[in-house]
Amino acid sequence: MEAMAPAVWVKKDLIGIRDLSRGEIEMILDTAPQFLAVSKRASGIKKVPLLQGRLVVNWFHEPSTRTRTSFELAAKRLSADTLSIAASSSSSVKGETLHDTLANIEAMRADIIVLRHGCAGAPHILAAAHASHIINAGDGRHEHPTQALLDVFTMRETLRRQRGNPELGLDGLKVAIIGDIEHSRVARSNIHALTKLGASITLCAPATLLPRGVERLGVAQTTRLCEALADADVIYALRMQLERQSRGLLPSIREYVKLFRVDRDSLRYAPDHAIVMHPGPINRDLELSTEVADGTRSVILQQVTNGVAVRMAIMHLLANSGGARRARESQAS
């Protein structure tokens, strides 16, 4: 590692995986282990002063427990001050524009804005017009970059452990992503991340939930679960929203379970070493059987643990790298 040219993070924001190079993705993945170590310190003092005196604003326009908590913990473990703005108390209901709300937050000298928004592109339009560091915590169906980064980090760590090679990348890894691809920002970000890292992807969904033109992203697709699982190293089940049935996209949850659930029966088609992942929160016995979710193949709780470390790495890189500092200076001037 020391032999390689020292790469420097230059991006002001983390908006989407599509905007990242393979090198940038790897820089985040390589920065995360030191923060994982902070969270696992034997002393129990899970804190470093890297963002002391900085303000991180968690601005969530959609309900979220898991992601918001993970970001808040990440910020706190970096010693930042944190502030949460929830959709219900935000100005959107008062008719204030997104730009105006952010301008007001920035007037209070925020450093990092973590934005979750129901509209695709919301963080993009803000990042282009404002000086603070924007982290996309999920925008509509578009991207959820930190989720994908913690997912590929978890895949890489697991693979390295399984194969006893601490240098292993994801080249050639076979990943099956199963479920509601159409509405999933997690799927989109993972497709970008895995493709850039050299993994191959098979999407598996009911025909009504496979988006048009997705094959142009360089993925295979099937509507048969056994095909998707056949040679998968990683089985990634997506959360199925119950409302898809009422919107006419599924005849019944019952039939979805019958055709697409990852459970003991369907796992018989998968290789023995395949691991099972899920972005959470799980609908138990819908997309994943309880047995599998809690079983030995599941790395779902490791994803959660890794999520805090990966988000610490991202905040550290954005706020403390050269490029980012320039942005902050331009804000001050």
Binding site: R18, T97, L98, H99, H117, G118, C119, A120, G121, A122, H124, I125, A128, D139, G140, R141, H142, E143, R185, R188, P211, R212, G213, V214, R216, L217
Partner: protein, 423 residues
Amino acid sequence: MTLAIINGHVINPADNTSAQRDVLVADGRIQEIGNGLRGDETIDAAGCVVAPGLVDIHCHFREPGYESKETIASGSRAAAKGGFTSVVTMANTSPPIDNAGLVELVIKRAREEACIRVYPAACATKGMQSEEITEMADLKEAGAIAVTDDGHDIPSSRVLRRALEYANMVDIPFLSHCEDEELSEGGLINEGYTATLMGLPGVPKAAEEVRIDRNIRLAELAGAHIHIQHVSTAAGVAIVREAKRRGARVTAESAPHYFCLTDEAVSGFNTNAKMNPPLREPEDVQAVVEGFKDGTLDCIATDHAPHTFTEKGVEFALAPFGIIGLETSLALTLTHLVGPGHISLEEAVRLLTLGGARVCNIPNAGTLASGAPADIVVFDPKATWTVEKNGFASKSSNSPFISHTLQGRVRYTLCGGQTVYSG
């Protein structure tokens, strides 16, 4: 007082002439076209095309109701700057133009404030609610040039059939926005790779195509003339072509953005590339160009749809549909249809003038006949310019062509012999 426009290349689609000649204007009318003409005043049009004032049969001037986006006054100035002297305004104002009194209001406002000719279209159904047809005889008598529920289709085939039968009786053109709104519901851009990549809900092409077919077939049942608005897909063009072949009374338009841009223009969540129907894919752009070449598409219309900077400066999903077009239509046509050799300069002038005038039976438009009102555009087909955000006469600047460099620039627009724009 006479005005001579000399040394220009005069293109008159009404009599298929195209030659270097002079135009003599007297008392607001075209007196003579010939050589060596002189007048009290002179416009030297050397290097320029002299053509009938452009005609746009699809624009939104937003008055009454949405005057912060555009007014009849500002819209007419934008039209004049783009070379237009006759426009048909859509009826989806607030309130919608669904009775004779409101038609008269628009005509009165236009007479007081517009520098060009404004012909209001009126609603085809009361309140644009798709339930009861409007008093089309009354509307026509008050001055409505066409009926349309533009912005929406009429979901009920029964109501649409009756509207078409009644419009045919009254002999007023029916302008049809074709969209199955169940199929397009929630959609923001064309359904396809770009929508999937951007995580934006898509509008399938079929939402437009199934209704182009249905609406033409209902017009055939009614024996009525139907005009298909803003055709944006390859299959849409093919359906119109086939309907014309079997003798249906159908005309059709498309807009410059459908022959200049694909859905990739939405990249970066550019709300100024968000309109309905949405920008499509390369094969559709090609088919629209073909439609103009073989006469399937009768005219270029702008669908000039102004929205304020504030309205467009929001999350992509929340931004309204529509872009402005009056000030870029001519240059886009010259740059993207004439420049690459798809159509001739003469055909471009026809598509921008007589084509639309015939669809809506606009009197004395699209012609340079002696005795006709002197509605004339003088443009330099070679001059290049760059579209600037702050350069529009429109109240709004929601154009996807900002910073595009285009060829073809209006020098003079004359309406009834008066210079309403010069630049």
